[in-house]
């Protein structure tokens, strides 16, 4: 196996992989879910509130999911995925090369 080539590949790849961050996916989906469920919660009929033992569960869960989603997006904003930099590569000593 050509380990050297692979290592060059690996650097390039890690950069590509970081462009696509799972925080964006979670944040995005939960913001959308949060908005949908909050809206449903605002317009819940009495029958639906009664079903949930009088708890406005859609409203609360909707807001909760919206906040979670926004927190993930905020985290992404504050600590964006960065291309490989020296501080990252510093921990690479013990990383096995790709095979």
């Amino acid at each position: 196996m050509a380990e050297n080539n692979d290592q060059v590949d690996q650097k390039k790849l890690s950069a590509a992989a970081r462009l696509f961050d799972v925080r964006r996916v979670i944040g995005g989906l939960f913001v959308v879910y949060g908005v949908i469920v909050t809206l449903i919660g605002l317009f819940d009929s009495q029958a639906e509130i009664d079903k949930a033992e009088g708890v406005r569960i859609n409203l609360w869960m909707g807001i909760g999911m919206l906040v979670l989603g926004l927190l993930f997006l905020l985290w992404l904003r504050l600590n964006p995925p960065k291309p490989p930099d020296p501080s990252d590569l510093g921990t690479d000593d013990d990383r096995p090369p790709a095979h």
Binding site: A16, F20, E53, I57, M61, D94
Partner: protein, 556 residues
């Protein structure tokens, strides 16, 4: 119409619930396509290019275990055995996860192996490797089929979809996102699924607790109900197996569940270990199972507690068959308590966790098939692109066979339980072989092979004896504790005995694989320090174990 809905499990989903469900599937497929851009080599496909941060691999690690079978099963156990079910989450998981992170991960990650069978090949020999690779591959495909079948059953019960439609739709979605996105897309979806399933279970638990008058109301109701006070304690009634609903004594719980079953499952199951191998460096790999231990500690709050709530609020729960079996505790609560909106989230979470369970099996299967069977014995020395392509074919093959086993499974009533048990027993001899091999450098290659094979046969023999009523046990659960114990002891004895009659490997070949022999990348990391405390695996692991002990105190 109301009566018809009340009598069955059928949920009344509206347009918005379906919108939530469809959005999820769209996201999952989108993740697969996005992950594809990052895949250039087979290591990217099978190990996510070893590039993921610890929190991602950690959540994926717990999520790969949090399949829907597990969620429904643990709620069922909660309904049936009460708080004794907590043992599965605490003593039955946390110590093993911490051990994996602190002690075993340096060997796994440091030896640069790409799979658990590959570790066996390096430590022992090819026959050991073949035996383990093939049995793992077969088990994964079978379990994937069972997951698929269970998904179809639940879709049929909840939404009224035909079984074959659900099986094909579920398989098509998993196939698409694993084939194009590889392990990255499996892992990203596991992380996403982790949050969605919680978003479904939390409202269920909140509304349920409101209904029964909070934790105090719940415990009072359980105490005066048929389960009684014994179901509200974890250890105090385990002096004798007759005094508690679980039917096990503390020795069985401590050694059977807490040691053999738990360590066997968590430390040698490649579908789990693979998540840690995809971490970006040694420290992240070691923290993977330890980070996973923290959610694991808290998950019973949204599985075991709903199980107990269901016992109190659903009349007639605990029937042998029909809609009111213990396994339906969570779907029944969803039907009774959740209004449209959060109901859609809960259904989505349940479906997501079935698919994540299946995806974990499929992504474990394609890796072992490609690296450990195809590359090692069938077509050696081809280009990396070639193996990447084989990996994609293996994924398709695995899913297609999974569909086949799903249809076979649909012909049996209770096959899920049996298969789960059969393959959890598979892990007990494997753990014995591992633990002896990792800490005793003299253990010989053939000792590895025979301890694995005979340990497996011993547990299989006990299982067959149980099925044919030759040996009686109080419950299938008790049988599984004993089966694991017998397999473990047999494997250890064989490992030691065979070692005295066969030649050992020279030390040089064992570097990085055995405790006490430093390797090229140096396995001394066991007590490695880390600059920031929250990145120190040993400290984090200690906190997890202490928390597990502390959580036991109020429910002693």
């Amino acid at each position: 119409m109301v009566l018809a809905a009340e009598s069955g499990l059928r949920l009344d989903l509206d347009l918005f619930d379906y919108l939530i469900l469809i959005l999820y599937f769209a996201t999952v497929l989108g993740v697969g396509f996005a992950a594809r851009r990052a895949i250039k080599t087979s290591a990217d496909f099978f190990l996510s290019g070893r590039s993921l941060p610890a929190w991602v691999t950690g959540l994926a690690f717990v999520s790969a275990n949090l399949g829907a079978l597990e969620i429904l099963g643990m709620a069922a156990n909660g309904a049936q055995y009460g708080l004794l079910t907590l043992h599965y989450y605490w003593i039955g998981a946390v110590p093993a996860m911490v051990f994996l992170g602190i002690v075993m991960m340096p060997f796994y990650y440091g030896s640069k192996v790409r799979s658990v069978p590959e570790f066996l090949k390096r430590r022992f020999n090819k026959p050991t490797h073949i035996f383990n690779a093939i049995s793992f591959a077969v088990a994964q495909v079978l379990i994937a089929g069972v997951n698929l079948f269970a998904l179809a059953l639940i879709l049929d019960a909840l939404l009224g979809w035909e079984l074959w439609v659900s099986i094909l739709v579920g398989a098509a979605i998993v196939l698409t996102y694993i084939t194009i996105g590889g392990l990255s897309s499996a892992i990203y979806n596991e992380v996403l699924q982790f949050f969605v399933i919680l978003a479904g279970l939390i409202p269920l638990t909140i509304v349920g607790l409101v209904k029964v008058g909070g934790i105090d109301g719940l415990f009072d109701a359980v105490r005066s109900g048929p389960l009684g006070d014994a179901a509200l304690h974890t250890w105090s009634n385990t002096g004798s197996s007759a005094d508690n609903p679980l039917g096990a004594n503390w020795i069985g719980i401590l050694f059977g569940l807490g040691f053999v079953l738990s360590f066997g499952y968590w430390t040698t199951n490649f579908a789990e270990v693979q998540r840690a191998l995809s971490a970006k460096d040694m420290n992240a790999a070691r923290r993977t199972p330890i980070i996973a231990a923290f959610p694991k500690l808290l998950i019973p709050a949204v599985t075991v507690i709903p199980g107990l709530i269901a016992v109190i609020t659903v009349k007639g729960l605990g029937a042998d068959e029909g809609d009111l079996t213990y396994n339906n505790a969570i779907p029944l609560l969803m039907r009774d308590l959740l209004p449209n909106g959060v109901l859609g989230i809960a259904v989505t979470g349940l479906l997501a966790s079935f698919m994540a369970g299946m995806a974990a099996n499929v992504s474990g299967f394609n890796t072992v098939f490609t690296y450990d069977i195809w590359q090692a014995y069938i077509k050696k020395g081809r280009s990396d692109e070639y193996y990447l392509r084989i990996g994609r074919y293996a994924t398709i093959g695995g899913v297609v066979i999974g569909i086949g086993t799903a249809f076979i499974a649909s012909g049996y009533g209770n096959i899920m339980e049996y298969i789960q048990q059969l393959f959890s027993l598979f892990n007990a001899p494997l753990f014995a072989t591992f633990i002896v091999g990792m800490f005793w450098k003299r253990m010989t290659p053939w000792a590895g092979f025979w301890s694995l094979v005979l340990g497996f046969l011993a547990s299989l023999a006990l299982y067959v004896a149980y099925l044919t009523d030759a040996i009686a046990f109080n419950s299938a659960l008790e049988q599984s504790f004993w089966g694991a114990g017998v397999a473990f002891v047999t494997a250890v004895i064989i490992a030691v005995a065979v070692t005295f009659f066969t030649p050992s490997k020279p030390d040089d070949e064992l570097r990085g694989l055995v405790y006490g022999l430093g390797g090229t990348s140096d396995g001394t990391a066991i007590v490695s320090g880390e600059k920031v405390w929250w990145r120190n695996p040993v400290l984090l692991g200690t906190i997890a174990v202490v928390l597990a002990i502390a959580l036991y105190i109020p429910v002693w």
